[in-house]
C-alpha cells in the first residue's frame, strides 16, 4: 500500500471519530435532542477513504450517510448536528464552502456532480467533483443520466457507490441483476471497478487513481466500494424486521475499523495508550461539539422567509410583515 503509517493513522482516527460521532448522534436522537439520523456504522472506510483522496479544492457531493467524508473535508461536528437537528444552518458549513449539502432524495445529486464537473472543465480547472451514493441509488434514472452525461463529456468526476448491501429493507440482489454495481459504468462508457470498501487504504488508493485520472482530463470513473450497513437504516428503522441478526454478526468480521487497527498494531504504530488517548480526545471533541450545538441560538422564526429568494418578492414580503411567531 502506498499509504504511509502516519496517513493510515489519520484515516484510522477519522473513521473512529466518525463512528463515535455516529454513536453520539444516535444517543442524541434517542433522547429527543436530534431528528432522525442515518448511521454510517460499518461503512466508515468508504466515506473517509474517498474524502481522503480528494484535494481541498475538489467538490464533494455526499449522500446522507457521509458524515465521514464531510467531517474529513472540514465540516464541523456541531454543524453536522445542527443539520440533523433540523436546522438549515447546518449546511452553511464554514469549511468546504463549495461542497454540496446532503442530498435527501436518493441519487438526485449525481446530475449536480456532472454540472459541477462541467464547470471545472469549462474553466479548465484541475478539480474533481466527487459524488457518493448508495447501492439503492444506482437504480435511479438520475444516476444513469448523470453517469451517461459525465461519460460522453469526459467530465472530471468520480462517482462512488457505497454498496452497503441494503437500501432500507431491499438487499442489493433485489435491487439489480447487474453482475456488480461497477458494471453500471459500462452503460456510460467509463471505467468501473469494484473494490473492498472495508479496506480503507484500498479505498484511498482507488479513489486517488480515479481522481488523478479525472484531474488529468481522462474523464470520469465509477467505483463500487463493497461494505455493509451494520446499523439500522436510520433511527426510524428497525432492521430486525427484515434481515437476519446472524448476517449482521458475520459482517462484524469485516469491520474496517478493527481491520485498520489490527494493521496499525501489526505495524507497531498503535497500542493501548494511543487508542485510549484517541478515544478520550474524540469523546471530548464530540462533547464540545454537542455543547456548541446545544448553545447555538435558535434561528429567529421570521428568518424562514429570508432564504427562499435573493430578491424577496412583494407577496412574500407581505407574508413576512404579517408573520407573528406566536401563531405557530
Amino acid at each position: 500500500m502506498a499509504q504511509s503509517t502516519d496517513a493510515l493513522i489519520g484515516l484510522y482516527r477519522a473513521m473512529c471519530l466518525t463512528r463515535a460521532f455516529d454513536a453520539k448522534a444516535i444517543a442524541l436522537q434517542r433522547t429527543g435532542r436530534l431528528g432522525t439520523f442515518a448511521s454510517s456504522l460499518g461503512q466508515e472506510a468508504v466515506s473517509v477513504g474517498v474524502a481522503a483522496a480528494m484535494r481541498p479544492e475538489d467538490v464533494l457531493l455526499p449522500s446522507f450517510r457521509d458524515h465521514g467524508a464531510m467531517l474529513w473535508r472540514g465540516v464541523d461536528m456541531a454543524e453536522s448536528l445542527l443539520y440533523w437537528g433540523g436546522d438549515e444552518r447546518g449546511s452553511d458549513f464554514a469549511g468546504p464552502r463549495q461542497d454540496f449539502p446532503v442530498s435527501v432524495p436518493v441519487g438526485t445529486h449525481a446530475p449536480h456532480a456532472a454540472g459541477v464537473a462541467l464547470a471545472f472543465k469549462l474553466r479548465r480547472e484541475p478539480r474533481v467533483a466527487v459524488c457518493l451514493f448508495g447501492d439503492g441509488a444506482t437504480s435511479k434514472g438520475d444516476v444513469a443520466e448523470a453517469l451517461n452525461i459525465a461519460g460522453v463529456w469526459r467530465l472530471p468526476a468520480v462517482f462512488v457507490v457505497c454498496n452497503n448491501r441494503w437500501a432500507i429493507s431491499t438487499p442489493v440482489e433485489r435491487q439489480t441483476a447487474a453482475e456488480t454495481l461497477a458494471r453500471k459504468a459500462d452503460a456510460a462508457g467509463m471505467p468501473g471497478e469494484r473494490i473492498d470498501g472495508n479496506d480503507v487504504e484500498l479505498v484511498v488508493e482507488t479513489a486517488a487513481r480515479a481522481l488523478a485520472r479525472a484531474r488529468d482530463g481522462q474523464g470520469p470513473s465509477l467505483i463500487e466500494a463493497l461494505t455493509y450497513r451494520m446499523g439500522d437504516h436510520t433511527t426510524a428503522d428497525d432492521a430486525r424486521r427484515y434481515r437476519d441478526d446472524a448476517e449482521v454478526s458475520r459482517q462484524w468480521a469485516q469491520d474496517p475499523i478493527a481491520r485498520t487497527r489490527r494493521r496499525l498494531v501489526d505495524l507497531g504504530a498503535w497500542g493501548k495508550a494511543q487508542e485510549e488517548g484517541m478515544l478520550a480526545e474524540h469523546a471530548a471533541a464530540i462533547e464540545r461539539a454537542v455543547e456548541r450545538y446545544a448553545a447555538t441560538p435558535a434561528q429567529p422564526p421570521v428568518t424562514l422567509f429570508d432564504y427562499t429568494y435573493a430578491n424577496l418578492p412583494a407577496e412574500l414580503a407581505e407574508q413576512r410583515a404579517a408573520f407573528r411567531p406566536e401563531d405557530a
Partner: protein, 326 residues
C-alpha cells in the same frame, strides 16, 4: 370491530381490496417484508404472497411507469411512493401517461392505478419528508386526487380509489397516521367518488380543509363555538375533481369561508376553491374568503417548520377576521 389508527385502516382497506379482487397488487419500495416505512402494507406479503406484493428497486419514475403497464393489462396496481417528497420523479408518468391512457386510446387501454404516498408535515421529519404536493396533481385532467383525514375516511376513500377505473393519487397525512383511532367496520364500503364530507354542521362560517389540517379545523370549530360562532367544517376529501356543490351549498348559506391547507399558499388547491366560490356565490359572501396556508417560502426544516405551516391559532384568527371580530 376494533379501533384502528389511520395507518391500520389503510392496511385494512388494502387487504380488503386484495381479498376481493385478484387484480389488486401492491408495489413500492420496502412494501414487502418491511411492510412499508409506516407499516401501511404490513402483513400483506405474508397473506397474499410475493405475486401480489412486491418490493421495487429504488426508482420512483419506474414505480409509476410499471403501474401504468400493469394497469393497461387489467391489473389494479396500488403503488406506494415512500414519501410524497419523492413523488416528483413520478409526475411525468402520471401526467404524460397515467392521466392520458384512456383518452389517448379512446378507452382501449385504461389506467386503474392508485399512487399512494404519505403526505404533509407536522411530524418534524427531515427535509422533503413533509411535502404537500397535492396541487400539482389536482391540476391534471385525467387524475383524481384524494386525501383522507380520519381512519374511517381513509379506509373508505382508499377503497373508492382502488375501485375507480382511472388513476388516483392518494395522499395520506403522516401526522394523522397514528394520531388517534376509531372503530372502522371492515365492510368493504367505499366512500362516494368525488364527494366532500361535511364533518360538522354550522351556520356562521364554513371551514374548508383536507388531510392533515382537518382535525385542526374541527378543533377550531369547537373553540369558535365557545365564542358563539357556529362553524361548519367541510373535509374536501377529493381535491380533483372538487365537490363544488357541497362547497357552494355551505358557503351560500354561511356567507363566510376560511380555507386551510398545508401546502404553500400560492397556487394551492385553496386557490381553486376560493376562485370557484368567488365565481358562484360572490353575492352571498359577507366577507372575503380567507386562506390559511403555509407561507410561500421553502418549507423549513423541523426547527421552524411549525412556524410556516398553518396552525389552529392562524385558523382562528382568520375565522375571527371573516366574522368581523379581528
Amino acid at each position: 370491530m376494533a379501533a384502528v389508527t389511520m395507518v391500520q385502516a389503510i392496511n385494512m382497506a388494502l387487504a380488503r381490496a386484495m381479498a376481493e379482487d385478484p387484480q389488486v397488487v401492491v408495489l413500492g419500495e420496502d412494501v414487502g417484508r418491511d411492510g412499508g416505512v409506516f407499516r401501511a402494507t404490513e402483513g400483506l406479503l405474508d397473506r397474499f404472497g410475493a405475486d401480489r406484493v412486491f418490493d421495487t428497486p429504488l426508482a420512483e419514475a419506474a414505480i409509476a411507469g410499471v403501474a401504468v403497464g400493469l394497469a393497461a393489462q387489467g391489473f389494479r396496481p396500488v403503488a406506494e411512493i415512500q414519501f410524497s417528497g419523492f413523488i416528483y420523479p413520478a409526475l411525468d408518468q402520471m401526467i404524460s401517461h397515467a392521466a392520458r391512457m384512456r383518452n389517448r386510446t379512446r378507452g382501449r387501454l385504461t389506467c386503474p392505478m392508485v399512487l399512494r404516498a404519505p403526505n404533509g408535515g407536522g411530524i418534524r421529519a427531515a427535509e422533503l419528508h413533509s411535502e404537500s404536493p397535492e396541487a400539482l396533481f389536482a391540476h391534471v385532467p385525467g387524475l383524481r386526487v384524494a386525501l383522507p383525514s380520519s381512519p374511517e375516511r381513509a379506509y373508505r376513500l382508499l377503497l373508492a380509489a382502488i375501485r375507480d377505473p382511472d388513476p388516483v393519487v392518494f395522499l395520506e397525512p403522516t401526522r394523522l397516521y397514528r394520531a388517534g383511532s376509531e372503530d372502522v367496520a371492515d365492510d368493504g364500503k367505499a366512500a362516494p367518488l368525488d364527494r366532500a364530507f361535511v364533518l360538522r354542521p354550522g351556520e356562521d362560517l364554513t371551514l374548508v380543509a383536507w388531510g392533515g389540517v382537518v382535525p385542526m379545523a374541527l378543533a377550531a370549530a369547537e373553540r369558535l363555538a365557545e365564542e358563539g360562532i357556529s362553524a361548519e367544517v367541510v373535509d374536501m376529501a377529493w381535491l380533483k375533481p372538487l365537490d363544488t356543490a357541497t362547497l357552494i351549498e355551505s358557503v351560500a348559506r354561511t356567507g363566510r369561508c376560511v380555507i386551510a391547507q398545508e401546502a404553500a399558499r400560492s397556487g394551492g388547491v385553496g386557490a381553486e376553491i376560493a376562485a370557484r366560490l368567488a365565481e358562484r356565490v360572490l353575492d352571498r359572501l359577507a366577507a372575503p374568503i380567507e386562506r390559511v396556508a403555509a407561507y410561500d417560502a421553502v418549507l423549513p426544516y423541523p426547527r421552524l417548520e411549525a412556524h410556516c405551516l398553518p396552525s389552529e391559532t392562524r385558523l382562528l384568527a382568520a375565522a375571527r377576521r371573516a366574522m368581523g371580530r379581528a
